[in-house]
Amino acid sequence: MGFLKKIVVSGRGLVVALPYLWLLLFFVAPFLIVLKISFSDVDLAIPPYKPLLEWTAKNAVAVKLNFNNYAFLFTDELYLKAFINSIKVALVSTVLCLLIGYPMAYGIARSRPVTRNILLLLVILPFWTSLLLRVYAWIGLLKANGVINNILMSVGLIHEPLVMLYTQFAMYVGIVYSYLPFFILPLYANLEKMDWQLLEAAQDLGCKPYQAFYKITLPLSRNGILAGSMLVFIPAVGEFVIPALLGGPNALMIGRILWDEFFSNRAWPVASAVAILMLIMLVPFMMWYQSVQARESAGSR
């Protein structure tokens, strides 16, 4: 890579400076502002919060930090419940994605190249179609006079429509459905690089197929599983659209609480405090994801 060293001196700085500064300004700096506003008081003004810094009578600046918003979040049971429920929902959805997605990714990776490309396209296609519209499709399937109830009633399996829409069940269906491609794709990318001769060798040496899977395939695909799980778990914790459309009025999800605090109650400082707590919880997972990604790309070189 000798020639690249030359760019270092001249253009290298310029190349990375633009995206670097952009992300610093529009992705990192905003978090500092969220942090700041999470410490300010709610105010009936535009914007609806009080400044942190105030000029006092003696021409000195007084910093008024207050932890009221955080105290409020910890004393009101609603928020704690929402946090716990969000983690539970995200965790269960991730496990469901693993159970459905692993055999699929495995099946795709073990197909002939032509079949493999077609199946891969079929996974990517929903991923490119609007999430909102795909979640909307489930309303039509799950509602009282929806497709599933109509079919079940016409074959006589049930006599009254099942209540499925606006329940926890509908929310799980929506999340697993929407995030499944995010799980399959990184896992497939990992399995595709697998040396399947290892499995044949194991079987030649007397290993049963399920043992070979358990002892060879599963450990070797660990990074793919982790990457896929993070891509499902982290955004699912803060998911808003799916609980709002499928989950019904009492589906307590933290993303939805943040949205309502912000848009309905105009409580910007409370919404900011919710965002900060969510970040504190999720940042370790994001760092884990990044290190998994780094290991994956180092392994593929």
Binding site: I7, L23, P103, L119, F240, G255
Partner: protein, 274 residues
Amino acid sequence: MNERRSFFVITCLAFGFAFLYIPILSMVVFSFNASKLVTVWDSVNSPTLKWYHVLFSNEEILDAAWISLRVAVVNASGAVVLGTLAGFGLARFEQFRGRFTLNAMTTAPLVMPEVITGLSLLLLFVALEETIGWPAGRGITTMTIGHMTFSMAYATVVVQSRLASFDTALEEAAMDLGARPLKVFFVITLPIIFPAILSGWLLAFTLSWDDLVISSFTSGPGSSTLPMVVFSKVRLGVSPEINVLATLTIGVVTLMIVGVSLWMARANRLAKAI
């Protein structure tokens, strides 16, 4: 390699794809349903294009679609420039100051819950307006900036992985023959990564076109995007025009994906032939 799939795996594939496609197909089918009840098939008057006419005479939806289209095009073009620069830097420069930070900043938006990104961008725009007077209010500009910030991360990943998958021999050869770095980039590197740049553009376009959460936070009065209008309609229940909109979206996406992948397969064969 031979196909080595057990009965179990094939069953899982069949059920998995049924799960992924039944909702999509149901929207396509019911978009031709005459009944206003959407999911109750009116076999007397269906199939019909009635709701297609309704959709195309709905001013609110058309206006929103026009705003979405403008935002998505500007966003995709900007995101792909930023993403190509970042992806090139991360894939080709081994060590530079800030490499770790840049890597983290381009990975985090991929997983960051949108409500957090949306809220923080809005608070930034409000704070900027208060201190330097820009941006004056919120609207299409702030929304585009918001979209670029998260979609450039996707563009970066696409470009970076393309660059990582082909070796630097061609670039080095051109350098040895005396080409300057900038020329090498435009004559050698850019044509090779062009498929990635194109798919990065399309991905950024789609992300912006579909985005609801970040748009809701960063838009202003009179700049409602298509997903925002759809969301407010869908919240009130099913509506037949939305099935039509979904069918059209699926049609366009399918054509686009199939077209691009055929074209990329050809480009890959050519690249291998060189």
